[in-house]
Subunit: 302 residues, 4 copies
């Protein structure tokens, strides 16, 4: 009766005492940062997440238009990325914008990579045109299998083999277990990503194991499984575990809607736009040491 | 504890025996057509829908790619529109594509009007270039208030006063009470439309009362209120009306998510694309007497 | 043998000594500002432009990514707009984004209005949510006649009559006479706009005469008539006026290409994106007195 | 003083008598088909095109909305593709949509692949869901180097190595030497493609030599170099070769506009939309033997 969550913070909520799950948090300027570390095969299996570090940034409202708050969260993402990237000044980066740009709730990845400062071609072909300190960054929005007929991971693998980046950053929309997290949370992980998740489906994984270089994943929860609302409602009325299980089974069998429905906020367009901007700014600032707070939004596309 | 539905078929479900509510249906080639007529103030108030005729076309799957089924539903929409339009050969039509094109689930209206055969400017400026039998059709996608700062109805009223169409067709994404209707239903009504609905909010209404010409509304349910899933779950476990009411109150107060969440199918992009195509074909065929089944998809934009 | 130009700076180039044509310029921080005033019917007819004030801002390169230059041109547009707008603090503004968003070279208007701070609906419906000093701004991208079947001016007139703005700002892509101006020039005029121009076609004009309120036009040249290159070439080789006239006649008769070809820069996408951003920033800063240089790009959409 | 053309028909115009250049044509139903074969290194160098077969389909107007003409050209593209593809029933195909979707004149490739029937993932993962006779087709729109930082050919090579198609079809917008060809011509070649062309730039080539599988290129001329108009004008007035050369040199040095300007038709949006649809239909019909004239436009996306 598990409902999918891409957030380690949620997945570990019931396993805080488990050996191999460490978590701590700090708070500053209205931003909360949770740091979770999962280590050891047993902890990983119990939690259902790969071993590694997960950073969760929680803010009051990602769509907030207040300049100071907006810049603070951009800077915070940049800071956390810098720490987790931990790469040499000359290391090259390939950014991947996962997801379907035609579905608003799934469009963060493609929207984000549009706003990145892409430099690899200039560094390779016209190195004299660009300051030596600028890092080599390339970007790809590989679309989704329904349009390409190709597993996204195959596309990424193919491109990575040709371009040999030192590190990959993958940006994606996430699924949360809780509606109250939508629009408030950014997760950064050094574990790579498994689009659509699912155990044992190695082919779809974007990780150091499959790509040969470290993969940093960064995402924002945009949907929750529709089932969540149902189970929350049943909890609220004191339903037993058995009653919930019966409903769960029924729901999953409902055709064609049961397992294929997601809950999104009504203002999903501004939330996905704003999230994509924040992450793009965070990546640009983290990758290019010459950029600072005054360069926020400088590379936005209309 | 009412959950919003834009479908008369759902709104009247519990009022079938009410005086002033007539309903009948027919079935042909796998397509079911329900015809509901609401007459009299009392029936209208009880059901919560304006007086008039509502036609609900139900198919197995609007996203279905089978050519025969697809053409059958296009032809069916055209036939039903022709009957309910009931206009002279020379009457001019203004089509309005309501909704926010940047939210996939809300984009049917704008997508649909792109695929209409627009002729008004040719008839007015180069009448010799076009067959006399071609009807004058204009089209407008007025966007949404968050982008324009203007009530959509004000924009439509302003344009209608200048262009003086004999009839208006408004295309919109609808909210249903039931997940099982998403992707299966098209509703046509001769009552006009009240975007966002709400009682007594006359300003926002697109209807003969506010625009001075008959307004035909055509829409496809694309979302259900997230609360639906919760109440369905509670029903499934035999919750009492009181328990449901308590949950309902709590849910509506939840901030910021309670009333601002919607459920959509995961493949909302192909569903909205296909629905927009079907309705556009239906309108083109209904308005231009020279077009037939062989002209389906002829005016699609890429 | 006139080639169309929307720039008063070009149209007046050969009429500088004409009575009724005043021009002066200044230069600051690498930005040149030409101020042309056309007064009197005779001067207007000779130049082929309505009476009024025309401000031409010339920069080295609008696509330039240098932060300082970019902000300087945004601030310059804002300053010039403020002066020419000359409106009360409480005056309301309707911004119109003219053009076809599906043609890159014609998309500045629609792209620009997306990035405006739109406030009218908040001021009207939730005045307590917004600072009193915020100006009421609404925005409309009326698309083009090929899609709507309606003259753009009719749509604007209809909406203006309903919403009664105190002033209209119209943003559009312009045609220049010279390739060397593409990507370097912004024109602001207090004369309104005549999309597609043409003498005596009053219906299409957006001006105080047709709309009842002052219309400020702001645009960027994005295309030149393909004929320009030909005539320049003939000049270069010392062709006589007669030879040029013969070619001109032949060219205009060429079917279907003669008069329907335009020249654009290869990087028309980044030029139109950047121009739209600059103008949007200029308008936002000019209309909202509380905004300053630090708010540049704050309202960009992804 | 060569002006770039991607059309073999134009490149061979002055070399018809050259050994190694064969050409013949046929005409049917208002469609003309030119077949050019270039063989031998010498002919190839003189013409400036790789050895191979070039088919040029010329119609009255690609934007024409007449159903019969439209279907005829779709069927013609399908027939010619079938002949030149010459592949086994089970051979798999990867379609590449080259170009920048944000520049209307360069958007044919990305627009075209959206409308392809993509089947590879279904055949690989759910073979039981799909008729055995359906061919495996995948599709990729690799964007352009300015956005990715990666040579398009590197992306294609990487993906082709992972997915191992038996054949590649590359769709692209072309440059013509003559304005009168815009909107009237489709070229199919079995030589692969060299985006941006240029001699000796092997890295950018998409061909059997670089990808290991046959590459069929299909394109539509959408732009001509702005210089064309100038040289045509000089010809018209009897300028000498020397005069033309002087102008040519001057023009190429003009900054920043000289070599960076292209001529496009004003209705470039409908031309690129319609061209993309025709090519997509041609590819779908050529690749899937079960499809016929009645399936034209069946896979269009809105």
């Amino acid at each position: 009766m598990e409902i999918r969550t891409d957030l380690a913070l949620e997945a570990t909520a019931m396993h805080k005492e488990t050996e191999g799950v460490e978590s701590r948090f700090e708070e500053k300027d209205g931003i909360r940062i949770d740091r979770i570390k999962i280590s050891g095969k047993e902890a990983s299996q119990r939690v259902g997440k790969p071993c590694g570090n997960y950073i969760t940034i929680t803010v009051r409202d990602l769509s907030d238009n207040d300049t100071e708050d907006y810049e603070a969260v951009c800077m915070c993402v940049a800071e956390e990325l810098k720490k987790i990237l931990n790469i040499e000044e000359k290391a090259s980066v390939l950014a991947i914008g996962l997801g379907n740009e035609h579905i608003t709730a799934d469009s963060i990845g493609p929207k984000c990579v549009k706003n990145l400062l892409v430099t690899r071609h200039i560094k390779e072909m016209m190195p004299e045109e660009i300051d030596e300190s600028v890092r080599s960054v390339s970007a790809l929005a590989p679309s989704v299998m329904a349009f390409t007929g190709i597993e996204t991971s195959e596309i990424v693998r193919g491109v990575a083999e040709k371009t040999k980046p030192d590190l990959i950053i993958a940006v994606d929309a996430l699924a949360s277990r809780s509606m109250s997290r939508l629009g408030k949370t950014i997760q950064i992980a050094d574990t790579g990503i498994n689009p659509g998740s699912g155990v044992g489906n190695n082919r779809r994984e974007l990780s150091e194991a499959t790509l040969g270089v470290k993969v940093i994943a960064i995402g924002v929860p945009m949907v929750v499984d529709a089932l969540t609302v149902a189970l929350d409602a049943m909890d609220a009325t004191g339903a037993t575990e058995d009653e919930k299980r019966v409903f769960f089974e029924t729901y999953r069998r409902m055709e064609p809607t049961g397992g294929d429905m997601v809950v999104t906020p009504k203002d999903v367009d501004s939330l996905s736009d704003q999230s994509a901007r924040i992450i793009a700014n965070g990546i640009n600032l983290a990758l290019q040491s010459a950029l600072g707070r005054e360069d926020i939004d400088r590379y936005n596309q209309v």
